[in-house]
Symmetry: C2
Subunit: 338 residues, 2 copies
């Protein structure tokens, strides 16, 4: 019976791609964070617009730290649970909004599938803003090179990068739109590695504000998603982890807390490339712990589903809507709207 | 005849507030920018997810600089020209997406009025990302204190700020939702004052990509908007400048180039507060130059329209939809869809 329902879901999904949808409201908010105070810094004279008189600026005072930006699109008549989409490291919610080749992103896909969609920027990134260092953050951020994304995201082999697009070596059969790689790298933002506690707090606050919901996470967002489900297992009705780069450890977290939260773990192709076996092993161990506690985990390597050539940025790959359809099919089979 | 049309427009606008609208596509893109190369920086060992093995990171390589993030919402059946919304200093496109009291922002208003809407983040801010300093940008950014916004945005007098909301002094009759001021300050992002050339280039590239259109600008965005109209007077069909903080100088720019671009300049209340008389004088001089060249400028101090108490953040004030209705009325009277 489940397989028939899933088939019906897949057929229904072929329709919406060219359709429009009725929106009740588009808006955004910032959630979480705290107010801090700085003192003892020197005053400055600044001209804010070219040619205009300088104004004295006192850098001391109160600032917001740790707030997170969330944009929502609410449908006039949603048919499923809201979907929260959490991006990976060095990126923002743009991950879900667009594909670098110009096609609409997964935000559009899940709207067309009948979900309200909440796309956020992790703390310190994008519209969430960031805080002064070393006064508030420990030190400077990391900036991802164009080269690093090429192999880390399994678009090409370790030594496949060249600044000249004609000289780049890609993975055989890759689904990533290679001609749009430079455009994709424009989405990169600086990142710190010292803000995990602030980021988790903001994600948890988001869940408590807008759920029950389905949480869809990617890469670095994976560990935040696993922990958000542990923090609020009654509000996170399903977790879709797309190539999570980390996971809770069974000896530190109680997997039985999420025994009633269906987990889907999705993996692309070329998973033997470093550091992906390590990342995947962390999620496999967490999946084992959840299953050991009586929970449900669907482990979905895409090649086993007949989808090959997927990079780490599989929501941007040329077959990405087929991947999204697999996820929506799983949602329909595993999650009911309360 | 024009006044009757305007009245019809105003009545029509009373309707959409509770309605939904049909969306064809929501998405985003980055426009403009260039690739730069850094070399000679030391390598680092970084653990990207708590508990995971550190990975060597080489900070040298190629990076994008000067790209700008643009999100669009395209209606199924737009009835007017697209509206591009450019925010002010120390903020992002969030300015247009929401009001800090939780009401929908002007993005929603102009969608309901029948325009496709493009909301961007200026170069270096929000989802546009920012670049390493001092290697690429000249030096560190400025961070706006919570206190500075209170008087600079004319929410309260120069000495009206206190970290304790109960002790804050506001302007008599202010329309700003005072209880939401802290929430508003979560929208602040760091800013540089050295990126005007990059920012203007990206705005011009955006106009060339998506216009003909109407450009709506706020505060620091004002000068970029004036100059975007000068650069592409055939594509910018109207410029709506909301409290612009700067303007081209008549002796440096040829106002006759924008003689066919209707300009609306909107001002809130309490305009005698520093530094607003200086900022307003710059736009008044540019308005005189446009009018002297045979162009059309509508100079609109809101108190003369019966709207009092508006802060600099007038798109967030309690009467902000009435302000937006004035702008939409002006658009209907002055701009035709080609």
């Amino acid at each position: 019976m489940r397989s028939i329902l899933a088939l019906v879901g897949a057929i229904a999904l072929a329709g919406p791609a060219a359709a429009d949808y009725r929106v009740k409201e588009i808006g955004s908010f910032h959630v979480g964070g705290e107010v801090v105070e700085l003192s003892g810094l020197d005053k400055q004279m600044i001209s804010f617009t070219k040619g205009m008189k300088p104004i004295e600026v006192d850098p001391n005072g109160n600032f917001n730290v740790g707030q997170m930006y969330v944009q929502y699109v609410k449908l006039a008549e949603p048919t499923g649970l809201p979907v929260l989409m959490w991006h990976g490291g060095g990126l923002t919610g743009v991950t879900w909004e667009t594909k670098p080749d110009g096609d609409p992103g997964w935000q559009q896909f899940f709207l067309e599938a009948g979900h309200d969609v909440y796309v956020s920027d992790a703390v310190e990134r994008g519209r969430s803003s960031w805080a002064r260092y070393p006064e508030i953050y420990d030190g400077p951020p990391l900036f991802r090179t164009m080269k690093e994304g090429w192999h880390l995201f399994r678009i090409g082999p370790q030594d496949g990068w060249d600044i000249d697009p004609a000289k780049r070596v890609a993975m055989d059969g890759t689904q990533f739109p290679l001609e749009a790689y430079n455009q994709f790298t424009k989405q990169s933002v600086p990142r710190w590695v010292s803000n995990d506690v602030r980021t988790q707090a903001a994600y948890n606050a988001l869940v408590e504000k807008v759920c029950p919901c389905i949480v869809v996470v990617h890469s670095q967002g994976g560990n935040f998603g696993y922990n958000a489900a542990l923090a609020n297992p009654d509000l996170v009705k399903a977790l879709v982890a797309i190539e999570p780069s980390g996971a809770p450890k069974a000896e530190e977290a109680d997997a039985s807390r999420v025994a009633n939260v269906p987990h889907l773990m999705v993996w692309g192709d070329y998973m033997d490339m470093k550091p992906w076996p390590t990342f995947q092993a962390a999620s496999r161990a967490w999946a084992d712990a959840i299953e050991g506690a009586g929970g449900t985990v669907t482990w979905m390597p895409l090649p086993e589903e007949g989808l090959t050539g997927n990079s780490h940025m599989l929501m941007m790959d040329k077959n990405s809507d087929a991947v999204a359809a697999k996820i929506e099919e799983w949602i329909k089979a595993n999650v009911t709207k309360d």
